[in-house]
Structures are given as structure tokens and as C-alpha cells.
Amino acid sequence: MRRFEYHEPASLAEASELLLCLGEGAFVFAGGTDLLVEIRERLRRVHHIVNIKRIPGLDELMISAEGGIWFGALVTAGRIERSSEIARLYPNLHDAVRNLGSIQVRNRATVVGNICRASPSADTIPPLVADSAEIEIFGPGGTRRTALAEFFTGPGRTTLSRGEIATGIRVPPPAEGSGRVYLKHGRRKAMELATVGVAVSLNRSRGTCSDISIALGAVGPTVLRAPKAEAMLRGAVLSPEMISAAANQAMAECTPISNVRSSADYRRAMVGVLTRRAVTRALEATA
């Protein structure tokens, strides 16, 4: 492996200062499943690794029906996968982590790392965006929180500035009568990057869909919401015809590209199929 200097700060303040002082070649290291690969494949020039694993408090995972979820930057995909409470209350997030990489990778990879890598196809992002998650960020100016939907500025790019470290994710508690689904489409069942990922979270009250959010992965420079499709369903009594019409609208709202995994046309067609399926299943889950 290419050489780098290794740092093990004991606090967030120390880590932040290191990142500021060491400049462009310094990177936060948590799970390492992306960063070490990028070093080996020479995709990133890394001169300094700032390992945040010794910083206390970042490995917290809290989950309850009343409080929602809080997980710190060191919580692995595997820990989320093994939480029966998350499987019960947030099956969308559970399905997303269960299909990320392999068991071996999930025992190392952190969910916050998957988010900060900001891949348009990252599995964990659509369900968290659909559930209005917030990301907490420590930096030289103190701590800030931002809606996850506003965290991404492009493929691999976020609003994190130098010296800032994402410290955790908060997901609001699931509302009474809500349903949430994440569907991943790929060429194989395991060890796969999503060709398209669709997350739908909705609330039902007195027979109508009182709120809905649709998040689309791998069909734009960042994970996208489909606000017009959502507006067609919000406040309505959902019928199969309405769901199909909204799925068609979601196809019009996404902006896929063609690459080695799929053509843009195929991705768009799958957005239609998966959105229809995900809304239908999320609705069934509220029953």
C-alpha cells in the first residue's frame, strides 16, 4: 500500500485541528472499506489518515419507538443489521444495510462513512433521506446539524468543509400508521452496487396518505426526492391507478446517466417499476 502518516486523535477537537493543519492530503478514517481501496487503486492521494476510532462516544447506537434512532460515526452497517429494533421499526434502513457489500465489509464499514462518501448509489442514503434524517457535524465553529437531503452537493461531494467531521445521524421516530420501504435493484443479489434504489416512507391516517416522501438513488448526481410524484399522492386515498401515475411522474423527475452498470433509459424504467412497488408495499405496511 502507498505510504501515509497515521494519526489517532483522542477527541473531536484534536481530530478537527489535525485535519485543518494537515491540509488536503488528510482524510478521516473510520471503517476504512472505501478509503483503503481508494489508496490501493490510486483514486485518492492520501498523505495522512486521521483514525477517529479512539474518540469516545462515537460508537453509540440508540433506538426506540419514542425517540427514533441516533447512531454515531463509528456504528458499523453490521451493528445496524443486527439490531432487531431497527429491523422492526425501520425495515427500510435494515434492508439497505443488509444488502450493502458483504458480511465481512459490513463488520467494518460505517453507515456515516457510506453517507460521507456521497455516492449517488449509496444504499443507506435513500431510506434516511425519505425518513427526514439529520446529520450532525463537528467543526472548528462548533456543532451544526443539517437535513441529510441538503448534505450532498454532487457525486462524492458534501457540504463538509475542511476540519469538519460528521459525528452521527438522527432519524425521527416513526409516526403511528407509517410504512417504509427500500428497494434495491441490481444485477445480482449480493456484493452489488445499486443500479437503482428507491425508498418510500409514508403515513396513513383515516384512509388517506397524509404524508409521503420518495427518495431515488443512482438516478442523479445525488440521491433525489421526487416532489411532484409525492404531491400527487399526498392527502389522497391511494388507488393502484394513482400510484402508477405517480411512478410515471417519478420517472420524469429523475436524471439518470448511462454507465457500465446500466443505460439511462433502463434506470428510468426501473424507477417507474420500483416506485410503484415501493409505494404499494409501504401502504401495505401501514395496515
Partner: protein, 160 residues
């Protein structure tokens, strides 16, 4: 700058001094001299380097050796209780012809060990799911699954 670390490898304390950019995989194969763990892709895709660290299977190529200080590391060399006594899984792999070239075998054995520790009687789907991070290009997996099913039965009858 090189750092001294102490790991507990297959139950034995081992001290090595490593560069921070050295992977656990390279350290096991190089400094420690345990070459049973194989280096396939070196980027976490193939599973040939699967070892168990503090009870969890992971890719040794994606862990830095300096992170393993103080950790319990299990490798394929630790499977055998003694030199003339194979682990139930090793025996089942031999009986079922579950290895051809054998390069993926150490990683698959470690993954299978972890699988059976968490699930004594896995279904076919659970075995497939458990091994989805281990690539074998020779066997087509059928004999590997046969061997794991057979080892699971044997372990249930006479626990190791």
C-alpha cells in the same frame, strides 16, 4: 513511523512492529508468518483473506495492522485443535471435495465457522447469504454448501 503492536492470534500473544500503512493481511502473512490467509483481490471483494477479529469475520486486507493491537485474531491455522486433528469443517471440505485450487478455502472455512457459530442449523439460503462475500471460481459452490451442511449436522450431533 513503525509501531509495536500485540495481537492474540489463535490464542497466542504475538508482538510485531509494523508500519501504519501495513494491512492486517500483509502483517499476518509477512511479519507473523501465517500464510494460510490468502491475498486475492486486496480490495475487499473476494473474501479469500477472511479472518475473525474479536468474534467478527472481516477482510484482513481492509484492516490496518495497527488497528488490531489488543485484538483476538483467528486465522485458518487456528482451526485445528492439534496437528493431527482436523476441524469438523476441514474434514467435511475434504470428504465432499469442496476445494479445487484451494485458494478461496481458508477464507470460506473462516466464514463458515462464523456462520455456524451464529446459526447452528442454517438453511440453504442462509448459507448462501453467509458466503456471499466469498468468491470461488472453481467449484460452483455446490460442494462447498454440501460440506457446510454436513459439518453443521456433525457439530449438532457431537459439538466440538
Amino acid at each position: 513511523m513503525k509501531q509495536p503492536i500485540e495481537m492474540y492470534i489463535n490464542g497466542e500473544a504475538r508482538s510485531v512492529t509494523v508500519d501504519p500503512y501495513r494491512s492486517l493481511l500483509d502483517t499476518l502473512r509477512g511479519e507473523v508468518g501465517l500464510t494460510g490467509t490468502k491475498k486475492g483481490c486486496d480490495v475487499g471483494d473476494c473474501g479469500a483473506c477472511t479472518v475473525i477479529v474479536d468474534g467478527r469475520p472481516l477482510n484482513a486486507c481492509l484492516m490496518l495492522a495497527v488497528e488490531a493491537g489488543g485484538c483476538r485474531v483467528e486465522t485458518v491455522e487456528g482451526l485445528q485443535a492439534s496437528p493431527d486433528q482436523l476441524h469438523v469443517l476441514q474434514d467435511a471440505f475434504m470428504r465432499h471435495g469442496a476445494a479445487q485450487c484451494g485458494f478461496c478455502t481458508p477464507g470460506i472455512l473462516m466464514m463458515a465457522k462464523s456462520l455456524l457459530e451464529n446459526n447452528a442449523n442454517p438453511s440453504d439460503d442462509e448459507i448462501r447469504f453467509g458466503l456471499s462475500g466469498n468468491i470461488c471460481r472453481c467449484t460452483g459452490y455446490t460442494k462447498i454448501f454440501d460440506a457446510i451442511r454436513s459439518a453443521a449436522r456433525q457439530l449438532q450431533e457431537t459439538p466440538a
